[in-house]
């Protein structure tokens, strides 16, 4: 199979714009979901059902005055949100959006880069995302920003461990770190969630913590830390921070669906003869799963209150990491017994 540069560039542009659009409309969905869960209606003045609300918000962000505090480290201050945004967008490179499409005898992969350490790449990029928050908080030269950044980064680093450990059992089962391989092994209804429910629970909890979402949204805290690491930010720099959070949610949802819920696989996919048709339906199935998980993120956010900071650390280090380790051991034992 030959790989054409044009295909890849085309795919990159599509994935880039799709993740931006989904993140854009996540902001509206968040407000709509929160409103509906609280028996309200939500934004409905800008366009039908408020569909132009994200556009209005974006325009507002761009036209606001962009303030760089006098005492801030200018270079780091600008670097912070850029790193956050870039790392958030980079992760989507290894996600397999579908199988293959065949155009006039040429097979085109629906994955930008099927690297053999796909999941490791995701973790590496997500870890760089912590720098975005840390640098932004440090560069603001404000005690609230610094404390917020400290909180955010210690939380993200702690939960990264449990997250990585929860993935190891999947890697053990699959025998591969490539996301493409992991997804293609969950053919049909053979999804990993049925083998690794505990792993999913740990991964899901850690994904919430990684995205700084409720119940782990401690970096932002009006009572103690004002706005947390983005206290000093304004205009589109603040927009980038907030926006990268939504892209992270989208990417986490995509990875959760790919790792545990079969990605583009859907039941009875062998009954469709045309491979192109399977691929197209697969993309839709994948996006349906992703959108469900984005909704799930919002659903959880508007249901449960946040943890206290010591509870957060206790949960991460004392419960989730041992649980993930036990999960690895049990997976190994079961694999040995059944000689898989």
């Amino acid at each position: 199979m030959e790989i054409l540069l044009f295909d890849k560039i085309f795919l990159i542009v599509i994935v880039f714009s799709v993740s931006l659009v989904i993140a854009l409309y996540s902001t509206l969905a968040e407000r709509k979901v929160s409103a509906f869960l609280q028996d309200r209606i939500g934004p409905n003045r800008a366009g039908v059902f408020g569909l132009l609300q994200p556009v209005a918000d974006g325009v507002k962000f761009f036209f606001k005055e962009d303030i760089i505090p006098t005492h801030a480290d200018k270079a780091l201050y600008i670097l912070g949100p850029s790193i956050s945004m870039i790392t958030a967008l980079m992760t989507s490179a290894v996600i397999p959006w579908g199988t293959y499409m065949t155009f006039s005898g040429r097979q085109v992969s629906m994955q930008i880069a099927d690297i053999n350490i796909g999941i490791l790449y995701v973790f590496a990029v997500v870890s760089i995302g912590v720098y975005g928050i840390m640098i932004g908080g440090w560069g603001s030269n404000n005690k609230f920003s610094l404390l917020g950044a400290l909180r955010a980064s210690s939380q993200m680093i702690s939960y990264e461990i449990a997250m990585g450990l929860s993935i190891i059992s999947i890697v053990m089962m699959t025998g591969s770190m490539s996301l493409g391989e992991i997804v293609s092994q969950q053919h049909g209804m053979n999804w990993n969630i049925f083998y690794q429910p505990i792993g999913f629970l740990i991964f899901c909890t850690c994904a919430f913590a990684e995205c700084n979402r409720t119940p782990f949204d401690l970096p932002e805290c009006e009572a103690e830390l004002v706005g947390g690491y983005h206290t000093e930010y304004s205009s589109m720099k603040l927009g980038l921070y907030l926006f990268s959070e939504y892209i992270n949610i989208f990417i986490s949802s995509a990875i959760m669906s790919a790792m545990f819920f079969g990605g583009y696989n859907f039941p009875f996919m062998d009954m469709i003869a045309s491979p192109n048709m399977v691929s197209i339906i697969g993309v839709f199935a994948f996006f349906a799963k992703i959108i469900f998980f984005i909704f799930f993120f919002m659903w959880v956010r508007w249901t449960i209150p946040r943890f206290r900071y010591d509870q957060l650390m206790k949960l991460g280090w004392k419960y989730l990491i041992p649980l993930a380790l036990a999960n690895i051991v049990i997976t190994g034992v079961v694999m040995l017994i059944f000689n898989k």
């Binding site: 979901v33 869960l37 609280q38 028996d39 309200r40 409905n44 508007w302 449960i304």
Partner: protein, 176 residues
């Protein structure tokens, strides 16, 4: 201490059981509650297009009624001013002259009638005290103003405009 209601619960600072420590059943229960609200009827009233309906006994701005022939009902007896707990009402009585029969129903009328809307508590006692069916509290809201002196409403603002009937929006007696 005697309890006023039986709704109070004694809070116990007990250790959490394993099931409670897992959080997951509680979180699941909470999420089931919120998902029910997703499909519930929304309580929002979309204000400029829709307005909340007033209570049937809403007491707003006062009106001094005219009768069917357009004559003022008020005879300046002063019972409303006496009954007013906020002492908001003042009036000056005058005698009806010849040729004014089409303006005032009885021989005596109020030449000035003022209600200080900053003092008024909208209790509706003036309406109850009135023996001549002259003063009522309507559904109209009191508009805001920049000047305190503009809150003293005279006859120009209180008397029912000529040619209007007992319209429910401007005149809605709740006692019969």
């Amino acid at each position: 201490m005697q309890l006023l209601t039986n709704r109070s619960k004694v809070v116990v600072n007990k250790k959490m059981t394993l099931m409670e420590k897992l959080y997951i059943p509680a979180i699941f229960g909470g999420m089931m509650i919120t998902i029910k609200h997703l499909f519930r009827k929304k309580v929002t009233i979309q204000y400029p297009e829709q307005t909340r309906e007033f209570s049937k006994v809403y007491r707003g701005k006062h009106i001094l009624k005219r009768d069917e022939q357009g004559r003022e009902n008020c005879t300046a007896c002063g019972l409303c001013a006496v009954s007013c707990p906020a002492e908001a009402i003042t009036m000056v009585a005058a005698e009806r002259k010849k040729g004014e029969e089409h303006l005032y129903r009885e021989e005596k009328y109020a030449s000035t009638y003022e209600i200080n809307m900053l003092r008024c508590i909208f209790c509706g006692l003036c309406e109850e005290a009135c023996p001549k069916d002259a003063i009522y509290l309507t559904e109209e809201l009191m508009p805001a103003n920049y000047d305190r002196s503009n809150f003293i409403y005279g006859k120009d603002k209180l008397v029912q405009p000529l040619g209007t009937s007992a319209h429910p929006k401007t005149y809605k007696p709740y006692k019969k």
